[in-house]
Symmetry: C2
Subunit: 380 residues, 2 copies
């Protein structure tokens, strides 16, 4: 519990009892921090913080007392604000139910189990003629004899076989979204691609009390695993932290849970076996050791780092960074990918934000095969 000061002029007596302690100010602090190996930004933040703290400390006691009263009001503010955000979450749950029929129809059109009517294919706000003309132009170019000049990416595309005009639904719908959205694309490895071509739908199930959501990834029967749905569950809290209540900024994800993937024999892309040659120090004989290590893969998304049972324990900073990145990805899939899938498929809904906001996560699922010499295919 904090100490309480009386208001009024008790300033002089405090100054007279002032001790001549060493004060670590901007300059010395910088040297101190530099030695501890933190980044320049962290150092600037620490110095700025120190300057603020010292500026406050130099204020008369009755002014500092009033600032504490404002903090008390701020605590009351975040307690009310938490209720506001809980009401918003309840609204989100309510609207999720209203969106559901639209998403189900989308899944049916994508899979080909439902063929839309002519009326359903009208986009009156768009200029369809332009699209039609371009389609004729592109498809006209595709059957010419190749003597005319073609732009580079047309040549690349020519290698891929043309799509069967009688194809069902919208092939590779979700896989194309993974390729278009940089945050998802960065997680996807070459060996993930044939598996993600079997991804048929992503659904969100909202949870009220305790709040949170589950992402469900639906797969067509495939050669890789026997699951038909892979899940990732996110738990959220909407309460100011007891130790730092004023830092409250609304609901946040605080933990997540993956699911077990039942890989078919030899198909687990999240592990790889490494063969290492070891030379005996004295005898000089060589032996080969085989080791399984984690391989880069989107499917590591379903095996996030384990959360400690004690919610108050502090995590290692690298684990914390992995989880923070994971939470942002989960939030992004829920907020942007599921609700705006068609726009990410066509590219209409891709903006700079897709590239910039999430660049930090680039190295989140890093490779761990340092020091390996030979890498063979995974044996499960």
């Amino acid at each position: 519990m904090g100490t309480v000061e009386r208001s009024g002029d008790d300033h002089t007596s405090e100054v007279e009892s002032g001790e001549e302690e060493e004060i670590v100010g901007g300059g010395e602090l910088a040297q101190h921090l530099m030695k501890s190996g933190i980044t320049r930004n962290e150092m600037l933040a620490a110095i700025t913080n120190r300057i603020h703290v010292e500026a406050l400390a130099s204020l008369p006691p009755n002014v500092r007392r009033r600032i504490r009263a404002l903090r008390t009001l701020q605590k009351e503010f975040v307690d009310i604000e938490a209720k506001f955000y809980s009401e918003v979450h309840a609204l989100e749950c309510k609207y999720e139910k209203l969106y559901k029929p639209l998403f189900e129809k989308r899944a049916q059109i994508v899979s080909g189990s439902y063929e839309p009517t002519d009326e359903e294919c009208l986009n009156p706000w768009r200029d369809e003629n332009e699209e039609e003309e371009l389609a004729r132009a592109v498809q006209g170019a595709a059957i010419t004899d190749g003597t005319e000049k073609k732009p580079a990416e047309e040549e690349v595309k020519a290698i891929e076989p043309a799509m069967d005009p009688n194809v069902k639904g919208i092939p590779d719908f979700w896989y194309t979204i993974f390729r278009n959205v940089s945050m998802l694309c960065e997680m996807m490895q070459e060996h993930d691609e044939p598996i993600l071509k079997c991804l048929q739908d992503i659904k969100v199930q909202m949870h009220d009390d305790p709040i949170g959501f589950t992402l469900e990834f639906y797969f067509a029967p495939n050669d890789y695993f026997t699951n038909t749905v892979l899940t990732k569950e996110y738990s959220m809290k909407c309460k100011p932290d007891e130790e730092n209540p004023l830092e409250f900024e609304g609901p946040e994800i605080y933990s997540c849970k993956g699911c077990e993937i039942n890989w078919k024999k030899g198909k687990n892309v999240t592990v790889k076996t490494i063969k290492k040659k070891q030379k005996h120090k004295s005898r000089g004989s060589v032996r080969t050791v085989t080791k399984s290590v984690q391989a880069d893969s989107f499917f590591n998304f379903f095996s996030p780092p384990a959360m400690p049972d004690d919610p108050n324990s502090t995590l290692a900073s690298d684990i914390q960074a992995l989880l923070t990145a994971d939470f942002e990805i989960g939030h992004y899939i829920r907020e942007r990918v599921v609700s705006r899938a068609v726009l990410l498929y066509t590219g209409e809904g891709l903006d700079e934000d897709d590239d910039d906001d999430y660049e930090e996560e680039e190295d989140s699922y890093s490779d761990e095969d340092s020091g390996t010499e030979e890498v063979s295919d995974a044996e499960d």
Copy 2:
């Protein structure tokens, strides 16, 4: 209205009628765009967009038809989502009323018209001892004879007169926030500072139907203008755009209105008079011309560019950029500054975002005195 295609195999006939139009692909497009002087990022976006458009155009007609059906579903989605956001805005209006008593008490403590009780000054989640020790250390250092080594910023501070220990309220509360928050600090000029020291409160009035909000800046009687409150009103809309409905991302500010500032004679910091010497071409005689031009000032915030009467007319891109920056500032003051003022005052609530997110606005209120020779103080 768009054209409608029948589903089924009408692909072959289309290909046969294909025209051999010139297709502008990635490479040629880049050259074309380079010549038009756009930035590298804009060019990349245009090329990426073109690649997406061509990829779509190369799909069989019945697949493109299904994509249009998904767009129709997406239109239904944003129409429902708009209702969700309207409900959230209504919630915001409801909670604004609950926050009001807290903000009013804050204003009273800041002005000194209310002295908080001891109980109101308890911050049980904080370690007050640490703060007290630092205060003693800093204030002890301030009265030493100066022979010991002092960090640089302590020396700077020593020039400012110490605050009267019997001072009322929290002096310079809002002015300090302007100094601490980089987005506000960038707008503040030296001549604005004595005026902003008279800023006593910032309030938000929420508007329901039509939605929006007004920022109210309350000033103590001062030597600069006769207004006691300056206002900035923001109008918002929460409806998908008719021409681009799928771009809807929630409510957005679309216009704002400032207020007239009744400057006292010679005190208008938003204009400056420029004296220009002009030499007569043939006679060689010199005359001095006096001209009033806009001066950089935070108070230009209350004279935003005029909005066109026709909401569908397009604005010049520089005006549009000014307004976009203005809207972000208005949103930021409402969302962050008013609701978390004490944390911005103490520095606790300043994070990297305060610096990074809004760096783009740095040059929004640019100086217009190019080509001037002498600048005198403003004469109103």
